[in-house]
């Protein structure tokens, strides 16, 4: 059965996920999203995966959440505090959420994974390193290329041609 740390982390993670979507201000919403991402990092610590947990904190909480925060600050003030949603859709969405949670939860509870337990030691970071440089090396190189391509692509997308043309004209 779950212990107190697990329950606290579950409450923080799920509560701040709801807060991220439902808080009126987008800035507080993105701070709540940081809570969700940090809570998932805490679950990774509980699963004896400290390397993935620290990666999660460094990449998600450290860079993605801050990037989102800065993007929110670029949007004008009225839009940050305005909730844009349909009232009718909201009830349908809540129904969809409950159907997904109950049906998937029932499938998992009935599937027999309750009986899965392990006493074996967790795989440590050496195994991950060996995986990366042996079996998964083409995927690692591909991932690097995708990251470089996406960063270049996002820089090209966000470039302001009108400002550049003005500067060239001056």
């Amino acid at each position: 059965m779950a212990d107190a740390v697990f329950l606290a982390l579950a409450v923080i993670t799920i509560g701040s996920a709801i807060a991220a979507l439902e808080l009126r201000s987008l800035i507080y919403g993105s701070i709540a999203l940081m809570g969700t991402l940090g809570g998932v990092a805490g679950f990774f610590f509980l699963l004896d995966a400290p390397f993935v947990a620290l990666f999660q904190i460094a990449v998600y909480v450290g860079s993605i959440a801050v990037l989102i925060l800065f993007t929110v600050m670029l949007v004008k003030r009225e839009l940050i505090f305005k909730k844009i949603e349909d009232k009718r859709r909201k009830f349908a969405g809540i129904g969809l959420m409950l159907i997904i949670m109950v049906s998937l939860g029932a499938v998992f509870l009935d599937s027999g994974i309750k009986t899965i337990t392990t006493d074996e030691p967790a795989p440590d970071f050496r195994d991950i390193g060996i995986d990366f440089v042996t079996y998964y090396w083409p995927a690692l190189i591909l991932m690097g290329l995708i990251l470089a391509g996406s960063v270049t692509g996002s820089l090209v997308l966000a470039r302001r041609e009108d400002v550049e043309n003005d500067q060239r004209a001056n």
Partner: protein, 101 residues
């Protein structure tokens, strides 16, 4: 370790449900990106939990790949938000009409 696989799986199912609710209800581009992030995190949590209980290092390796690809996705998504905001002065996806096929 006192928590079992089913506990982590149920938390992951809850996060998936919240993320799908966000994608279905919200019309704000930035909030929809939040929902996508929550869904990706639910998937990562599931992968690492199953990898721990097998036990196999492939789960953690796959989660690291997934986190890196999600970082790329967020970078592109945020720059798309900036471009769309510059064109329409709004973040409501109902306003992005010229994207309609």
């Amino acid at each position: 370790m006192t928590s079992e696989l089913i506990d982590f799986t149920l938390v992951s199912v809850a996060l998936l449900g919240i993320g799908i609710y966000g994608l279905a209800v919200k019309r704000n581009f930035i909030r929809m990106l939040f929902a996508v992030e929550i869904i990706i995190n639910a998937a990562n949590l599931n992968i690492v939990a199953f990898g721990r209980f097998l036990p196999h290092s492939g789960g953690q390796t796959m989660a690291l790949f997934s986190i890196a690809i999600a970082a790329a996705e967020v970078a592109v998504g945020l720059s798309l938000i900036i471009v769309a905001y510059r064109m329409y002065r709004n973040v409501d996806i109902a306003d992005f009409r010229s994207l309609k096929g």
